[in-house]
């Protein structure tokens, strides 16, 4: 693998850019692999990379029904943070955050990781209490997080309207300075290139049509490019997790919903951090190209259509006007939708299943992107050892039987 560097760019520039290597091979599927990962998104490719790099499993394949990074990896708003309430969540998301920090260098691929800070705003008493609880839990868990009052919020992000006149005034917020955004395609491509260099076969345009078992154990998969034998199949198909599991008659506690996002036309920098607000429903940052990247809500109904409704966007824009009235004259340039599978406790599933050799990673809801390296790292460990490590263990499916949920969404319960 030819290493990327500024020097190499200059050398190639002088030579007309004719000497670059292919980023990844286009292999034919082998008849068998030691493990097959279904899903060529960020999580799947990260899983493959860590399996090959840390566990020496290089005879493996990533099977992708379309093009890599074409699912939720290519459709999210790339917000990175780890300020989760519960110890279990903080552990995995912070594990991911730590991996993000050196990832570009490790992969020799610029993922444009920008630790520009993530603000979570509070608009009422309940949210203040919630967010303060979270800040303190984060601090004690070693997660960087701090509380800002409304004026400090304004200082950190001058574009925000903190006037008391609005319907839900900003009362304060939390700031995770190490949070930020990155370049989603870069992450996918960086992992793919690095995994490929370690020998992983990336099989694009290869759709899984069945999972083969014998005596309750996985023996292979059927694909649109033929049968592949393997003792380990790992589904990392967020959005389609149930579709994969249903092939083995495994029902999961997830529902798939469209989640929309949009970008504005590019404008000169005006928003230099990430702003999130639950009550007013705004998730916004500005890309390095100048577009405002805005996350919208999920449609209430189950759907796999990868598109959502206009009213979600309309309400989203009205909400944006509450916090950023100066964005009113800018224009929405492009809207799109992804499919997120949501668990009842708003925490993911990283788990073995009743079928030996079949592993599931999914149910990330609206927040899977930020976990990408951590998710891949611990999932690889689970696949290699057939046992979850300390970080992955709380996210096993059996928590829905025992009741030991990691109820991050409980944080949103409001009533008095």
């Amino acid at each position: 693998m030819k290493r990327y560097s500024a020097l190499e760019l200059i050398r190639q520039g002088l030579g007309g850019h004719r000497g670059w290597d292919r980023v990844w091979r286009k292999p034919e599927p082998k008849p068998s692999y030691d493990a097959v990962i279904i899903g060529g998104g960020g999580h799947g490719l990260a899983t493959a990379y860590y399996l090959a790099k840390l566990h020496g499993m290089t005879n493996i394949a990533v099977v992708e029904k379309g093009w890599i990074g074409g699912g939720n990896s290519g459709r999210n708003t790339t917000i990175i943070r780890s300020n989760y309430l519960f110890d279990e969540s903080a552990a995995i998301y912070n594990h991911a955050l730590n991996l993000w920090k050196g990832l570009g260098q490790e992969l020799n691929f610029n993922i444009m990781m920008s630790h520009r800070g993530v603000l979570n705003l509070a608009h009422d008493e309940g949210e203040m209490r919630q967010l303060k609880r979270r800040v303190e839990a984060n601090r004690l868990n070693g997660v960087d997080s701090e509380w800002l009052d409304a004026k400090e919020v304004k200082n950190f992000c001058p574009s925000i309207n903190i006037s008391g006149d609005i319907r839900y005034p900003v009362l304060g917020g939390t700031l995770q300075r190490s949070g930020g955004v990155n370049r989603h395609d870069g992450v996918v491509w960086g992992y793919a290139r690095a995994a490929d260099a370690l020998g992983v076969d990336i099989l694009q345009q290869t759709e899984v049509t069945g999972i083969l078992t014998e005596a309750g154990e996985v023996t292979g998969i059927e694909t649109t490019r033929g049968t592949i034998r393997t003792p380990k199949v790992a589904s990392v198909t967020a959005g389609h997790t149930s579709v994969m599991a249903n092939m083995l008659d495994i029902r999961l506690p997830v529902e798939s919903h469209p989640l929309q996002a949009l970008v504005s036309e590019p404008i000169k920098p005006i928003l230099n951090c990430v702003v999130m607000s639950n009550a007013v429903h705004v998730y916004c940052s500005q890309s390095d190209k100048g577009e405002l990247v805005i996350g919208a809500g999920i449609d209430a109904q189950l759907s796999y259509t990868q598109r959502g409704n206009l009213d979600i966007i309309e309400h989203q824009m009205a909400s944006l006007m509450e916090l950023f009235p100066i964005f009113s004259r800018l224009r929405m340039m492009r809207q799109w939708g992804g499919i997120v599978d949501v668990c009842p406790d708003a925490s993911p599933i990283i788990s073995k299943t009743p079928v030996k050799g079949f592993y599931v990673n999914g149910g990330w809801g609206t927040g899977g992107w930020k976990a990408t390296p951590g998710s891949g790292h611990v999932f690889a460990d689970l696949i290699a050892k057939d046992e979850p490590n300390r970080i992955a263990a709380p996210f096993a499916i059996d928590r829905f039987t025992t009741g030991a949920l990691v109820a991050e969404h409980g944080a949103a319960a409001v009533a008095h």
Binding site: K65, G66, W67, G70, E207, V208, T209, G210, T224, T237, H240, T241, S242, V243, M244, N246, M247, R251, L252, P253, V254, E255, S256, A300, Q301, L302, S303, Y304, T305, Q306, R307, N309, L310, D311, D341, P344, F400, T401, T402, G403
Partner: protein, 123 residues
Amino acid sequence: MFVIDCPNCGPRDQSEFTYAGEAHIARPTETENMTDAEWAEFVFMRTNTKGLFAERWWHATGCRKFFNMLRNTATDEIHAVYRIGETPPKVTANLPATPAGEASIGSGNDAVKIMTRDEEAAS
């Protein structure tokens, strides 16, 4: 936004309705004797069908009645509405060609949106 044909009020904009999840999941009656796993199956586990799916909606602003609907979740085509307690009618739908794949028309998957030769020949 969908237009949902409420069995009582007629076609109305989706904004009047509340989605209420998978249909035909009856609440168990003998809960005491169930295992934790059986109970979890009722409370949490869902089929999350890609394709023809029976679901419940609530006409929140109108008649406040729950009803069932058959919808293709791969395409968002609504095939039927029917009342609570009724069995789902038989319908034909554009079902996904492969388990994870897409319906033969009106793909939601961005990778497939040009007519196939077969489709061209048929049209």
